[in-house]
């Protein structure tokens, strides 16, 4: 709430101070957004999707972004995931200034820093699980891809399904393959867009447990979008988005 009340210029100065991106309590910052706006141009009309987002996510945290549809949370997700550039504002991911980077640089950051998990899994249908998991390594130019991909599949408990195609797997299994793909290149953050949106409650809990374990064991920062309160409670921090702005940004007391 505090940031929103500040005039945009003041907020920028406020966040400019800790250049080392460290909070007062000594925790490192993975995501830092200052006055992020995003405006889409549809014909001659300007549609503002984000109108000045200020927030931060600590390294090693599990954060949930929640908000009604049309609130701009998907746009925010795309900017966090370096799939899109903000219209204005500053965005630092793992101390890298994202603004002004070229498409190829963004692709490199997506490849090395970010693991994506989507609601609709987004696996390649004609490729088996192992190939799907190895895909980021292919574009990262990593040798010995299959061994690493198999390790990632083991982590999500699907090593025995390595040569199954997505169509031969259940929804939960497909999402686990997607998670294996997201973690195969040891990313700084895993970004999940409604990861349980197409799954039943039981499977959803399984998936969220995998995220929690990855966060605990490997220290990966996990950020997910959801509108299910049951799922949001897995987060240590919940960022509420409404009308393109941060409505509330608070630690969850567990």
């Amino acid at each position: 709430m505090e940031e929103v009340l500040l005039p945009p210029g003041a907020a920028a100065r406020l966040w400019d101070k800790p250049r080392e991106r460290e909070l007062k309590n000594g925790k490192l910052i993975m995501i830092e957004m200052i006055n992020i706006t995003k405006t889409y141009h549809i014909g001659t009309i300007d549609v503002p999707a984000l109108r000045g987002i200020n927030c931060h996510i600590e390294t090693g945290a599990i954060a949930a972004i929640v908000g009604p549809s049309g609130s701009g949370k998907s746009t925010l997700m795309n900017i966090i995931g370096c799939l899109d550039q903000p219209s204005s504002g500053q965005y630092h991911l793992d101390n890298i200034d994202i603004a002004g980077l070229s498409d190829d640089d963004l692709a490199r950051i997506r490849n090395q820093k970010i693991g994506f998990v989507f609601q609709s899994y987004n696996l390649l249908h004609h490729a088996d699980a192992l190939t799907n998991v190895a895909l980021p390594l292919l574009y990262g130019g990593v040798p010995d891809r299959n061994r690493q991909a198999l390790q990632a599949l083991e982590m999500v408990g699907l090593a025995d399904r390595a040569h199954h195609k997505p169509t031969e797997l259940s929804g939960g299994q497909q999402q686990r393959v997607a998670i294996a793909r997201a973690l195969v290149n040891n990313p700084s953050i895993i970004l999940a867009d409604e990861p349980t949106g197409s799954l039943d409650t039981h499977t959803s809990e399984e998936i969220m447990r995998i995220f929690t374990n990855l966060n605990k064991e490997k220290g990966i920062t996990v950020i997910f979008i959801t509108h299910e309160p049951d799922i949001a409670r897995y987060a240590q921090k919940i960022i509420h988005i409404r009308d393109g702005m941060v409505d509330s940004d608070g630690e969850v007391i567990i």
Binding site: N78, G81, L83, D84, D103, D104, A107, R108, R110, N111, Q112, F116, F118, N122, L123, L124, H126, A127, T131, L135, P136, L138, Y139, G140, G141, R181, N185
Partner: protein
């Protein structure tokens, strides 16, 4: 991502859509097959005609009465005036000024109905001398060729070409039998072996020149000399053709009292087989290239087919492109993937087309049209060129779709249904 990875990814993409890949290839297959079979038939025919001409002797000059029309457009064509005589032929044969000349054979010919006891046929009757056999290297299957003695005696004897012999005497030995050339009755003294070739003596009957002059045609000019239609001159070898031609020209000018050294007043013309072969070769070469170009049009159509299908493929795989981009594929990676796919399609299509074209030309060369087979020869050049062209077509027509794919926005691509 390096090229090997791209090729592997491209192959996986193509295998995922087997039917479509096969159909896309078909355009290139047909194009390359058409180019290969048409050009191979072209080069085959060219080679066969060349060898036939060569078998007729590349060291042979033919002298014909009448000026060559090349020196001035209004002159009469070959044979418009009968000015060559037996005496001219003897002058060339006996002259000491013609060291490049090996043999000389005067020649007359006419068409006649030829009748045997069993059958009849209309054919060319050639009147000539024994040198004719040596110049054209004619082997005799049975009996003998006409001899000097028969020339002197104007004897009523003849030698049959192999086709004529087989037609007139399907069931019996021709030598010793009688045939009628029009009204002239002659005895068969020999049968030639089959020669083959385009202007072959297989379809001719050979009789002594003197017999023909005396008994079949108007044998004398107004001045009383003996007419011949043409004189065949064999040079001592192919390199001496030009020398032989010059020497023969000089002798004939002297014989005919022509003083003009420019050749404009010559009343005879010399046809050089080697020159004819050369110009024929040129024409056939142009024809082959022309055939190839026509077939090349189908290659372009095949290329457009590839572009079309690749565009469909890009649209269908927008989501896949989005996924690839989300996990870190750069523009170049996507571009390379689709370019490699179209190049591989085209290359495999080209290879299958090569095999199909080769098979096709083999088939065509086995079909004989009115007894004549069309030979086919695949030159290694055309194999290399067609492979290169098919890859080039794949790359060229793949650029637009691949570029389109690589420029897709990852967010929109991921949202695409």
């Amino acid at each position: 991502m390096n090229l090997t990875e791209s090729i592997r990814t491209a192959f996986k993409g193509l295998i995922a859509n087997k039917m479509r890949s096969a159909l896309t290839m078909l355009g290139i297959v047909i194009g390359i097959a058409a180019v290969i079979s048409l050009t191979s038939i072209g080069t085959g025919v060219q080679a066969s005609i060349t060898s036939q001409f060569e078998s007729m002797g590349t060291n042979i000059l033919t002298i014909r009465a009448g000026a060559s029309s090349s020196s001035s457009g209004v002159r009469g064509a070959f044979g418009s005036a009968s000015t060559l005589t037996l005496e001219d032929s003897e002058a060339i044969a006996t002259s000491e000024n013609a060291p490049a000349v090996l043999r000389v054979a005067p020649q007359m010919s006419t068409y006649s109905q030829i009748v045997s006891a069993e059958s009849n046929i209309s054919a060319q009757v050639i009147g000539t001398t024994p040198e004719y056999q040596l110049i054209y290297d004619l082997a005799v299957a049975s009996g003998d060729f006409i001899t000097e003695r028969e020339i002197d005696a104007r004897s009523r004897s003849c030698v049959l070409g192999s086709t004529i012999a087989a037609t007139l005497f399907p069931d019996s030995e021709p030598v010793g039998q009688r045939v009628k050339l029009g009204t002239l009755q002659v005895t068969v003294v020999g049968v030639l072996e089959e020669q083959g070739g385009i202007t072959s003596v297989d379809d001719s009957v050979i009789i002594p020149l003197t017999t023909m002059q005396a008994r079949m045609t108007l044998g004398r000019t107004t001045s009383g000399t003996h007419n011949v239609q043409s004189i065949v001159v064999q040079a001592i070898n192919a390199d001496e053709m030009d020398a032989a031609s010059e020497q023969v020209t000089a002798i004939l000018r002297e014989q005919h009292d022509i003083l003009d050294p420019t050749g404009d007043s010559d009343d005879f013309s010399i046809i050089n087989m080697a020159d004819m072969l050369e110009s024929l070769d040129e024409v056939m070469g142009i024809l082959t290239v022309f055939l190839g170009l026509i077939a090349g049009i189908s290659l372009i159509v095949g290329g457009i087919g590839i572009m079309n299908i690749m565009l469909v493929s890009v649209t269908e795989r927008i989501r896949e492109i989005g996924i690839r981009k989300a996990v870190g594929a750069k523009r170049r990676d996507i571009l390379l993937q689709f370019l490699t796919e179209s190049a591989i399609l085209s290359l495999i299509g080209g290879f299958i087309g090569l095999l199909a074209g080769w098979l096709g030309s083999l088939l065509i060369s086995n079909i004989s049209i009115s007894g004549q087979q069309i030979p086919a020869a695949i030159s290694p050049d055309i194999v290399v060129i067609s492979m290169a062209i098919s890859v080039a077509i794949g790359l060229f027509f793949g650029v637009y779709p691949a570029n389109k794919a690589s420029r897709l926005n990852p967010i929109e691509a991921l949202r695409h249904e």
